[in-house]
Subunit: 192 residues, 2 copies
């Protein structure tokens, strides 16, 4: 009824998630999402750059958390230690309450290549931000890239385990184990 009903963005977000889950991503039209939210197509595109972005809003916060976590590492930290600090900081975004929502979202994304592409891009952006943070500490380009990319990989593997069916362990614990596996991979001796 009223124009001006607050929370337009949230309504669009909710309607999109519900429809993507129920009818599928491709089968859902932006017009449908907008209508379900009591808005027009044009308004949808004012809030979200495209049909995919509605599932990825808020990723800047995760990126900021990564960067802050990297900055929190001591000055004499090795590259991998900085990365560990960055990834570890992100764990606060994944409390147990969020697990179910994350599972639903992941189900939708896993079923749609276009959404996977967007997710990969977000991860790539994350890696780039972390690379920049590492470079600012004087770490050379290729090492910074490798370290940052490895960090994002640990993040992704950990996330996958966190939302795995039946999983109940907290994100921080999982991340610790995955970092250990990474170390073992190249035959590291530093147990930490």
């Amino acid at each position: 009824m009223t124009r001006w009903e607050p929370g337009a963005r949230e309504r669009l977000n909710g309607a999109a998630l519900e429809l993507y889950a129920r009818k599928g991503f491709e089968e859902t039209t932006v017009a449908e999402i907008s209508q379900a939210a009591g808005l027009t197509e044009r308004t949808f595109f004012r809030y979200f750059a495209d049909k995919r972005e509605v599932l990825f809003a808020g990723s800047e916060l995760l990126e900021q958390q990564f960067v802050d976590g990297a900055a929190a590492a001591p000055n004499d930290a090795t590259p991998i230690e900085v990365v560990r600090s960055a990834v570890g900081a992100s764990a606060v975004f994944f409390p147990d309450e969020r697990r179910e929502y994350s599972r639903l979202r992941a189900t939708i994304i896993d079923a749609n290549p276009p959404l996977q592409e967007r997710e990969l891009r977000k991860m790539s952006t994350l890696a780039a931000a972390l690379t920049t943070a590492l470079r600012a500490r004087g770490i050379p380009e290729s090492v910074a890239t490798l370290a940052a990319q490895s960090g994002v990989t640990v993040f992704r593997v950990s996330f996958a385990q966190w939302i795995a069916p039946g999983s109940t362990r907290p994100m921080a614990h999982i991340q610790r184990d995955v970092f250990a596996e990474l170390g073992a991979l190249t035959g590291a001796t530093t147990a930490h």
Copy 2:
């Protein structure tokens, strides 16, 4: 003139590359590409699933090379050794003659987020294939994923160095060095 002129796919590929480079990806229309190749829009979409795919055809070959390389590793090879073998096998696809072409292609991709997304997806597919190959050797899921992902990262970092301005070193040499950096990252002691 003649319908039936051979090499339709190649003409479309060439026309697309030329136009993307000259006018930009977004500014180029599929109709323009098709016309430049002496074909129709509909035919373009018969050869390529979408406007981006024209730049990524042939990536299955790279994937196959990775898988074959992994298979070529000795039975008692460690995960990282298998990965090294897989990545190393891909070097044959990047002889010096191909460097200029790769540079041009990379320039186009780097300037267009949609193309970056597609590239990331291809790399992701590559990683998945490598993960499967590792799992087939009895390597557990998370280790396989970490190793494969690390391998793809090494591949990407190496490729970036290979096409860097002024770079003339062969791909195989670069990959060797980048693998060494990866090892140093986590404080490995096994020098190769």
